[in-house]
Amino acid sequence: MEKVLMLWENSGLYNLSVLQLIMIVVCLGLLYLAIAKKFEPLLLLPIGFAGILANVPEAGLALSAMEQAMYHFDANTMQAVANELGVALTATSDAGNKAILLDALKGVDDPAVRAKVSSLISAAGYSDGFLYTFYSLLVATGIAPLMIFLGVGAMTDFGPLLANPRTLFLGAAAQFGIFATVLGAVGLTALGVVDFSLGQAAAIGIIGGADGPTAIYVSSMLAPELLGAIAVAAYAYMALVPIVQPPIMRALTSEKERAIVMTQLRPVSKREKIIFPLAVLGLVALFLPAASPLLGMFCLGNLMRECGVVERLSDTAQNALINIVTIFLGLAVGSRLIADLFLTVETLGIMALGIVAFAIGTASGVIMAKIMNRLSKMPINPLIGAAGVSAVPMAARVANKVGLEANPQNFLLMHAMGPNVAGVIGSAVAAGVMIMYLG
């Protein structure tokens, strides 16, 4: 029966491409890392799962209606689209004609023509895949990363930072990883290895900020085509912090430096904790409006946490809301793991540059801490400089652990939380500069 044949010809097995198979294996690898190795599972699990869904052949869950029409390339529909666009499908292959159409679509600036094409596509029975819908509603608009930032703000305690504000410099220094990586990406392009634009280079650099939602937010604005690879790199390397950082930290410090005991943090009053997020907001408003969405939501979350009068909102931001958004964000980001977008030389470049960014950020933080230790009377253990890359609270724990190796009575955790949360502010500021410069 021809119907059984149709079933077979529509099956995944019949249509599975090698690239899709590779992507599915890659995504299974992400799931393995998330589940067995506990690599940032809250995001890598939904990302990996959605990555598999995005590569289910024929389902087109991560494609827009237009992309699906292009994929199936039904002759009649495509001829109608070509007529509307005023081009002739003169190529001998579907791939050639597809290129002609995509080219013509890019050149269209009359919204009436775009509406007509959409209408033709829709009439032919194509509609946006559900993962694509999540992506366009939640990530392309920036809403999901902002909501995550709200929740992260509500989970963040700035107490250690307020007790020792100088640690903000460590959070600043560690952002050098971001900008050095931008230069690296640009350099690789100059060498002809890959081909990154400045916007793409900036989005790759932000991986060095060690801050998932910031990386997603920036790359959704400056390089949406790289979002999948950048998000995967950011979360994977954040999980690798306990492996990547210690050798660098040990190489740059002496045993004696690592054993430095820091003076105990003073208690911080509630009033200071309430005013701090407002002070950050004020500075952002005055000096870097481009960072105001990210840092605004972060500060709102923190104000809700500290003010003590909206506990039910703070609880919701830390639990129900951030969890719901995390599920959708993971699915949306995973939808960008489509084989065509991910399996490129650029992805390898991103992975390589991302780890370099982490390493440079760590080193910069440590070196800055050593400099501050020289200049200041109050002792600073250089290990806490490494926590300036953010990756809250993993990097602070790493600093604590490496410190305990040198001096088993020296608990650095609280001291490292200062630069750790400073790093979040620092990378959001860096993100703002990039968006303003390139956006």
């Binding site: 903000l168 600043a172 900008f179 350099g187 900036a202 911080v268 509630k270 200071e272």
Partner: protein
Amino acid sequence: MQDTELLREGFNLMLLGMGFVFVFLTLLVIATTLMSLIIQRFFKPAETAATNLPGKSGSAATADGQQANIVAAITAAIQQHRKRR
């Protein structure tokens, strides 16, 4: 964009970006230090709050607190009981 141009732009971005990050966080250090000084001088230190671990949600804290309360209640009850014996 030509390669040298791109490289120069990247370099500019690095200078500008790191410069701005440092300027911004320096301002924040100054603002924070001033704010703390003013508050410590002009307001009573009565309402100091313990420095909590970040990432610990309010509800979790409440749950822990509740459990701690229970343990305390049991302990107190038992001790009181012992004394009376």
